[in-house]
């Protein structure tokens, strides 16, 4: 599926996967996609209407998760996760987007998995929907952009990522208008 993504959009999805792994998740959810978009801003245009900062998203995620971080749990075992990761980094470039792919399982069409050198991360149903809407919005010839991923997030108001943006005070109406979303969807 990544062949239909622009390089920045592909990098954002891979980044979302790495963030999900860092958070100790075994699946990729829409909140990780929001954090990656806020971090990398992989947009074609400056898109001022998308004002959520990575720090704000990270703070919201930290407030939600009641679970201790992997790094802390492993420290309890005497394992320094940062050091293990540092030694691993010489093996393969885990964050190289070219080493990751996004595939739909042939026999289970509702299962989309982000696979890379370090993990297989199935997309949660909501995250899968984000990607599907983004692919849909990009049309049959165009490629998925960062804006399309953002449209995918906004397409479902019940997405936890949308809740984070709303709580952060984002003007979603203005954002949707900037993305040409409200108009086209009408």
């Amino acid at each position: 599926m990544f062949t239909r993504f622009t390089p920045p959009a592909r990098r954002a999805v891979v980044r979302a996967g790495l963030l999900a792994m860092d958070a100790g998740h075994t699946a990729l959810d829409d909140r990780a996609i929001l954090l990656a978009l806020a971090e990398l801003r992989p947009f074609q245009e400056p898109l001022d209407a998308f004002g959520v900062t990575a720090a704000a998203v990270r703070a919201a995620l930290a407030g939600e998760a009641g679970r201790p971080r992997d790094a802390d749990l492993l420290a309890g075992l005497g394992i320094d996760l940062a050091e293990v990761r540092r030694r691993m980094s010489g093996l393969v470039s885990v964050d190289d987007p070219a080493r990751w792919r996004l595939t739909r399982a042939r026999l289970r069409p509702l299962r989309v998995v982000l696979s890379g050198p370090a993990a297989d991360l199935p997309l949660t149903p909501k995250a899968r929907k984000v990607v599907e809407v983004a692919l849909h919005r990009s049309g049959s010839t165009g490629r998925v952009t960062g804006e399309d991923l953002l449209r995918g997030l906004l397409a479902d108001g019940s997405n936890p990522s949308v809740r984070i943006m709303r709580r952060d005070g984002a003007d979603l109406g203005r954002l949707a208008a900037a993305l040409g979303f409200a108009r086209r969807a009408a």
Binding site: F2, T3, M21, G24, T26, R67, P68, D70, L73, L74, G76, L77, G78, I79, L81, V84, M88, L91, V92, V94, A98, R99, R101, T103, S115, G116, P117, A118, A119, D120
Partner: protein, 82 residues
């Protein structure tokens, strides 16, 4: 999981906590790290030209297990990227 659970359990017993929830969560975190390490080392071995037979032997598993678990994920240098 390809790896022997025994060593993981031994490690988990060293958790400096008497709270089962913490101990179990630590085991789960360790398992995630183990999967990540295994995947990275397999990808590295493939990039270095190792055969699936050699990788499986080093991991102590059957060739099919290693291949089934990792082949779809590893981007071989010679292969396509998509």
């Amino acid at each position: 999981m390809l790896t022997d659970m025994g060593s993981v359990i031994e490690l988990a017993e060293a958790v400096d906590s008497r709270d089962p929830a913490t101990g179990l969560a630590a085991v789960a975190a360790l398992r995630r790290l183990l999967e990540e390490l295994e995947a990275a080392h397999v990808a590295h071995a493939r990039a270095r030209g190792w055969s699936w037979e050699a990788i499986a032997a080093a991991l102590g598993v059957r060739r099919q297990s290693a291949h089934r678990k990792h082949a779809h994920r590893v981007v071989d240098e010679a292969g396509s990227h998509e």
